[in-house]
Symmetry: C2
Subunit: 405 residues, 2 copies
Amino acid sequence: MSTQKQSKVRLGIIGVGNMGSGHIANILAGRCPEIEVTAVADINPARLDYARSKIPEVAVFNTAEEMLDSGLIDAAIVAVPHYFHPKYVLECFKRGIHVMSEKPAGVYTKQVREMNEAAKSAGVVFGMMFNQRTDCLYRKMRELVQSGKYGNIRRTSWIITNWYRPQAYYDSGAWRATWSGEGGGVLLNQAPHNVDLWTWLAGMPLAVRAGCSEGKYHRIGVEDEATIYAEFPGGATGVFITSTGEAPGTNRLELVFDRGRLLLENGRLNVLRLGVSEREFCFTSKAGYALPDITEENIVLRPERDGHSLILEDFARTILSGTPLLSPGRDGVNELSISNAAYLSSWTGRRVELPLSPASMAEFHKLLTAKRSAEQSGAAGTRGEAANTSDIGGSEYNARWTTRW
Amino acid sequence: MSTQKQSKVRLGIIGVGNMGSGHIANILAGRCPEIEVTAVADINPARLDYARSKIPEVAVFNTAEEMLDSGLIDAAIVAVPHYFHPKYVLECFKRGIHVMSEKPAGVYTKQVREMNEAAKSAGVVFGMMFNQRTDCLYRKMRELVQSGKYGNIRRTSWIITNWYRPQAYYDSGAWRATWSGEGGGVLLNQAPHNVDLWTWLAGMPLAVRAGCSEGKYHRIGVEDEATIYAEFPGGATGVFITSTGEAPGTNRLELVFDRGRLLLENGRLNVLRLGVSEREFCFTSKAGYALPDITEENIVLRPERDGHSLILEDFARTILSGTPLLSPGRDGVNELSISNAAYLSSWTGRRVELPLSPASMAEFHKLLTAKRSAEQSGAAGTRGEAANTSDIGGSEYNARWTTRW
């Protein structure tokens, strides 16, 4: 890593699949002027040819390690299947290379804690590709939560079921939607964005109860629908529902406060504000069936640009100027803790406390290992190997991971 | 009971509190021409005076038994606190008197099964006051579910948190919101209407997981917020969220089907219909990120009149002409099974199967008894006795129990 004052971050991409090629398209379109793609690595020669065809001057490597040792990059995007995120992120940190990791950061929370410790020791920047954090409506919502003007959160509910995927999506890669390849389903692949935003807005829960439906809509062994009930500090509660089986699906996020309600749906933030805190009204109203005064406002904000490029730009700015990251690696633990706990709760039928106790973590690993074994022996109905059809353009890629209302 | 062909049902009212006086107001307003109130019974002399002042010709009794033995009534409304519903309903059936019971039918499912058996043996009509079943939007929704044109239900979600009650409501009767007086909170008192409608629309679940927050918003020992996750036959799932602590609260019911989605909110039924079943599309689409064709329609229907009077009219018609009941007593078991199971799940942190096994029922009774004992010894923070302020007019009573959007 160069210690001189730089004007551009030299970026390497580990894995030129769906996400990696999307990032290349974004950078080539001029959306991240502080980033230059100088190298790519992929074990699939066809993906390297694809990269060469897009960026003739790029250096290509058959292994990530060769690229990391080449001296050609200051930072890397890790865009390989989930199970390999911790391995390559740690390889980068060993060499003092900054990392932007695709979500989820790993499959187990323990790994992600180690990754954060390694980043800290190496003194490098570790960011998570939670691109939806850049959406102006979520940012507005967070601003209102943090302002304190609505008081404490009492209840949250997010129905985020518009991650629809037909079977063809799952058949596009044999690693997809398997316990061995991804370590989970919709909670690990599509909804981490939303679980992250949920904790970004409402904080971390103390316990969850969950029901995950495995193979409800598709020929897959992992869950394609999940429902989580969470208990937060101070008595607040929350429900999170996600699915890849609903067409067109719903995206509706409701936060209830002492002094009002924020409701995000159809690209609109609806704000109900109480004239007096419900807490005060509850204990002073003489009438048994009264309501406090309520005012209503609607906020419509249109996204300025694609969230992935905003996250990359923020990442580059942090590397170059030391500004705080919008989506730091330490937050990768939060959404993963929730999905780990949700699986454990669903499999055992029991309420699970957070942070996961060593006993809960051991039970989770044991049950996940059993799922993987059953899958590998064919008992869980795995799918055959299929071609990885990841030769996609930038616009489709953007649409795929950007908030849909 | 008269065996002659009658033109009017002679009705007695057991309990002239909030609900009983509301029914009197409705009938006096001419909304149930096939019903005549001929007698009332209440242990509180002030309530009998109230009845006399409204209906000078009515016969008044200090005990229900005297009224039931008087020969003055063919049918009775049971409108006493929940714990007494089974007792008085059974007293009626012993004497061949038809019954319309306020909800919930009882506090334990076992009681309600016995009540239904007794009604059958006596050959009398047993109806439940699920007045919201008469709402034209819920009726339209049921018609669309039953039509089969949307295929099977895959997921349901109901956020019904607009049952707001300030503390003054709970303080209006010492029996309110206690384990001893009502046997539960929002699930037993306010939301039975919605739990009933949920099962009326989506059927009975096979299992539930639930979290009930006791005294979250009020100085009460029972739950004022509840969240239920349900598993239905065929893999469908559902979430039900209710609360008396949110001002103004939400009423949003979503049913997702193979061929579309029905969404009820703000007095409007939004219908999304797919051109092809999602099941077919899922396995025939060649594209990994496609959606089937969708058409949208909005249905707005305004209620013609108050639901309580429609239920009473339907009850009278069944007694006089034998037409099927819109809201039969046998359905009282459904919502009660769900609330019993939800309490058990919340208390134990475990998934609970339905119908409740004898072991689950025994565990539920044991835990409920412990709650009652703790309450009676003052450990659970019971409130002091307060005046029952139930001298209310018909319009407030109607508004209180009618669907709010």
